[in-house]
Every structure is written in structure tokens, then in C-alpha cells.
């Protein structure tokens, strides 16, 4: 039994649970869920959703289940290369995840099923698309029943999207605090008054929040009073949610890096040289997973992705991540995932027992970490000593491609303009000496037409 590792992310649903055995991910389907599982597979819903890229494919396997007294089947789902969380998604990613959830629910209804939960954590970006990874989210639809996951859908998707669109895009970070979605009363009080005149938000959010408050102490049966909801009405609800979500827009503009590439002191030749160096090294080490830290709109992430590496493009700026995501969609890239991340405060482990959602570091290590035009932001703008930087980067991946930017560089000068230069140790020699205990420096190359250098390092 101890060779099974039950995952801490799936314990609420009595339908089954995830576990790993010898590094392979499985899901036990419990007998309590047998009828629903059979309907999912036999109604053709599973095949349709998988074909549309909306549900993770799985195979049924005949291995000993970890809890045989409850087990109906064991399935082996295809593994998502990186589990990301809604507070790491850009506006467009969260919006697409919301629309995917509604699309799945509409298709489920046609097959006589309904989603029993609508958690944003059940959606993952798989092959470039938002995909439901919880195959046990469906239940047989009962005529007359409302959508049991409506409240969860509004909290996980509608609340954050409305706040991002109408108040501030950074409010997606509230999802880090509220693991079951942003409470509707909180969203309602934070949203500007004009959202009360938008039909969708007025009803699904503001009125919904008021109804929750008013009926907080009323039992479900009492509130419902025997009322039924026809399938037609349920479809109407879904259409209305779809219209409301589609109408929410956010334009990535006027933020930190909007014109970063244009404003750097790189010449075209330097930029090309850097691109070629990074590309060549990536071709040599052939990583499966790359983490590009401070990726901006993903120019260098594409060097990895175009070589078949599954690449995460992290950036602190939601606008850069959004632009990158839109580009990924246009280019139909399936192995590049842009994510919002503040490296000085990376995603922590959250939820029950601090184990439900993993921290960034726990989701590593990557095969290669790209830290290009990054370390001056951490070492100078954020006062992170080089030694701590080396330690952190060595925790994240096996290989490191890192760019050294000297003090003479105009970008560094810009950072120092408004503050005291307390960084006497910020020199290339000290940088190399500090990284050596953690990494073996395999290659160094000065970037043409600039004072900068790139390094290829391997973790010791």
C-alpha cells in the first residue's frame, strides 16, 4: 500500500481520487460513481469532449486499486506537463477556461449529464487549450434540477474576470487568498457602480450576492419551495453566462514592459546574436521542460518551444503575459504556456494542510531555466544578494542559461538612478565566483555589440 502516493489535490469528491504509483498518475473511480462513469463513456460524451480538446483523455487499466473496498475502476489519465493555477493565468487564459467550462456543461446536457463542480482548478492548459482534467466531474442530469455548480462557477470565474475587466487586472491575485473563488459579496462591493447596469453582472453577480446574503440562514428546500428548472431554462442560464463572460474584455496596454524590447539598448545584431546563442545551447541540451523567468512576451521562450520543449513563460506583468497568450493562440502553439508570476514572491503552497495547491518550487524542477535580462531586476531592484539568487535558480532546474548585465548597462543605470548604489559586489567576477558553488559554468559568450554576456551552466 505504501507504494501508492495519494495526491493532496483531490480529496473532497467521494467519486474517486488521484494517486501515483511508480511515478505514473492514476485515478481510482469509486463504486459510488459507477453509474455516472458508465454514462460518460457510453453516451459518447467522453469521446466528443476529448475530440474537441475539452477533456483529458484516459485509458482504463487493470491494476490493483489503492482502496479496493470502494473501487469500481482505475483509469490512467494523460499527464499535463505542468499544473498551473488560476492566480497564475492572464485575463485571456481565465476567460478561455471559463468559456471551456460552459461549453463542456452545454455538451454534457445534450448527453443527459451535468457538471457537478465548476472549479477553475479542474481546468488545465493541455496542448495549448483549456481542458477539463477531472474526468469524474460529471453526473447524470436529473430533469428539473438546477445547476449545482452555478455558485462555484460564479466565484471561480465570473468574480475574478469582472474585477479584472472593470476594476484592476491585478485583482486576479485575490484567487490566491480565496481558494474557492472570490466571494460574490466581496466582488460586488469592489466593482464600480456602472457594472450594476450590465444585465449579466447585475444578475449573476450583484443580485446573486444579495440573494446569498438574504438566504444565508434559509435551508435549500425552503428557498427552493419545490420549484423545478426545465432543461430549456438551464440552457438559458448557460447561454446567459456565456454572453456575460464573452462581454468581459481587458486590453493589455500601458504596463511595465509594453514597449520593453523597443526601449532596450540592444542593437538588432546583439539581439540576434543572443537569440542564436540561446537557440544553439538549447539544441545541445535538448530539454523536455523549460522555465523562462521574466519572459516578457516570450521571444526567447519561443526559442525553446520551437525546438519541441514544453516551455513556461513566466512574467510579473499581466499585460506581457496576456500578449504572449494571444500570440500563442494565433500561432496555435501547443507547448508554450505564459503565466503570471512575481519571482520575489512566487506562488506558495495553499489550501488544506498547505498541500492542496503546490508552490512553484514544488512543481519543478525544470530541465532548463532561462534567466535572460533578469538578474539585475532581482539583484538591484529587489536587493536579492547574488548568492541567494544562485541558490534559488539551482533549486529550479538542472541547466541554467543566464545573462549577465553589468552596471555600465543603461538598464542597470536606470535602476540605480533613484537609489543608493549599495551593490559593490555586483561585478562579473563576483557573479561567477558566487554561482560556482552551485553550478558548473560550461559556456560563456559575450553578446556582440553590447557589454552583456550569456552563460550556460549545469547544476552541481
Amino acid at each position: 500500500m505504501n507504494k501508492n502516493q495519494t495526491l493532496d489535490s483531490s480529496f473532497r469528491d467521494p467519486s474517486g481520487f488521484l494517486f501515483t504509483r511508480q511515478g505514473i498518475l492514476y485515478r481510482q473511480v469509486n463504486r459510488a460513481y459507477a453509474e455516472n462513469y458508465a454514462r460518460l463513456m457510453e453516451s459518447g460524451l467522453y469521446a466528443k469532449l476529448v475530440k474537441a480538446g475539452l477533456l483529458i483523455p484516459h485509458t482504463e487499466v487493470s491494476i490493483e486499486p489503492p482502496a479496493p473496498e470502494l473501487a469500481f475502476k482505475v483509469i490512467c489519465p494523460e499527464r499535463v506537463p505542468f499544473i498551473s493555477y488560476p492566480y497564475e493565468w492572464s485575463f485571456g487564459e481565465l476567460k478561455d477556461a471559463a468559456l471551456a467550462t460552459l461549453s463542456i456543461q452545454k455538451r454534457a446536457l445534450k448527453a443527459g449529464m451535468s457538471l457537478k463542480d465548476a472549479s477553475a482548478y479542474n481546468i488545465q492548459f493541455y496542448q495549448g487549450r483549456p481542458t477539463l482534467i477531472d474526468s469524474l466531474s460529471f453526473e447524470v442530469y436529473q430533469e428539473g434540477e438546477p445547476w449545482v455548480a452555478y455558485r462555484q462557477f460564479c466565484q471561480h470565474f465570473l468574480s475574478p474576470l469582472a474585477l479584472m475587466a472593470y476594476r484592476d487586472v491585478r485583482l486576479s491575485q485575490l484567487l490566491r487568498v480565496y481558494i474557492d473563488g472570490i466571494p460574490l459579496d466581496l466582488a460586488s462591493s469592489l466593482l464600480p457602480g456602472r457594472t450594476r447596469y450590465k444585465l449579466g453582472l447585475a444578475t449573476h453577480l450583484h443580485l446573486h450576492a444579495r440573494a446569498q446574503r438574504r438566504y444565508a440562514d434559509v435551508s435549500l428546500a425552503e428557498a427552493r419551495g419545490g420549484r423545478k428548472m426545465s432543461q430549456q431554462a438551464l440552457l438559458g442560464l448557460l447561454e446567459s453566462l456565456q454572453t456575460t463572460i464573452r462581454a468581459l474584455e481587458w486590453k493589455p496596454a500601458g504596463t511595465e514592459w509594453a514597449d520593453y524590447y523597443g526601449a532596450t539598448n540592444y542593437t538588432d545584431a546583439a539581439f540576434e546574436h543572443k537569440k542564436n546563442l540561446v537557440g544553439d545551447w538549447l539544441s545541445t541540451i535538448q530539454p523536455k521542460i523549460a522555465w523562462d523567468l521574466g519572459a516578457n512576451t516570450g521571444v526567447f521562450s519561443r526559442q525553446a518551444a520551437s525546438r519541441g520543449t514544453f516551455t513556461l513563460a513566466f512574467d510579473i506583468d499581466p499585460a506581457a503575459v496576456e500578449q504572449n497568450y494571444r500570440q500563442v493562440k494565433t500561432e496555435k502553439l501547443t507547448n508554450l504556456l505564459p503565466l503570471v508570476l512575481d519571482l520575489t514572491n512566487p506562488s506558495p503552497a495553499i489550501g488544506w494542510h498547505n498541500r492542496e495547491r503546490e508552490s512553484l518550487v514544488e512543481r519543478g524542477p525544470a530541465d532548463v531555466v532561462l534567466a535572460l535580462a533578469l538578474i539585475h531586476h532581482l539583484a538591484i531592484a529587489n536587493n536579492v544578494p547574488l548568492e541567494r539568487l544562485a541558490r534559488f535558480l539551482s533549486d529550479l532546474g538542472e541547466w541554467l542559461i543566464v545573462e549577465w548585465i553589468p552596471k555600465s548597462d543603461s538598464q542597470v543605470q536606470k535602476l540605480l538612478r533613484s537609489r543608493l548604489d549599495i551593490f559593490p559586489g555586483y561585478t562579473q567576477e563576483v557573479f561567477e565566483e558566487t554561482f560556482k558553488p552551485y553550478f558548473e559554468i560550461q559556456k560563456v559568450s559575450a553578446i556582440r555589440d553590447s557589454d552583456r554576456s550569456v552563460y550556460l551552466m549545469k547544476r552541481k
Partner: protein
């Protein structure tokens, strides 16, 4: 494991037992919205039928179909 047995029992004995609390207010508000939105769909579908009666043939691709919510890049 007790909670699992409890949940199993409640699922087997009561078809309208939800494993997530759907919330009383949430249930009520969705009944209200759905009633209106559902009626909207009926009217919309009747409307196109009326138009067709008067000989106005208009291709309305995938209105009731779900092709329109196929995932596609809309950037």
C-alpha cells in the same frame, strides 16, 4: 474513511444530495435568471420560425448547435 462511507450513503439514499453546497441564495437566483433566459431562448427560436413563415430564409449557422463554442483562437 468514515466521511467517504457517509458520502456514499447519502448519494445512494438521496438523489438530490450534492457533494458541494450549492447555496440557497444561489439556487434561488439561478431559478429566476434561468426562467427568464430560458423564455428568451424559446422566443428567439419562435422568432426565427415566424420569420421563416414569411419567407425570410436566413442562414443562422449553429445557433442552437455547439459548433460556435468550439474552442478556437479569437485573438
Amino acid at each position: 474513511m468514515l466521511w467517504l462511507v457517509g458520502a456514499l450513503f447519502s448519494v445512494l439514499t438521496n438523489r438530490t444530495a450534492y457533494y458541494l453546497d450549492p447555496g440557497s441564495g444561489s439556487f434561488l437566483i439561478q431559478l429566476l435568471i434561468a426562467a427568464i433566459a430560458g423564455a428568451g431562448i424559446v422566443i428567439a427560436s419562435q422568432w426565427s420560425r415566424i420569420r421563416r413563415l414569411f419567407g425570410k430564409k436566413k442562414n443562422q449557422p449553429s445557433e442552437a448547435e455547439d459548433e460556435d463554442d468550439e474552442q478556437k483562437p479569437d485573438a
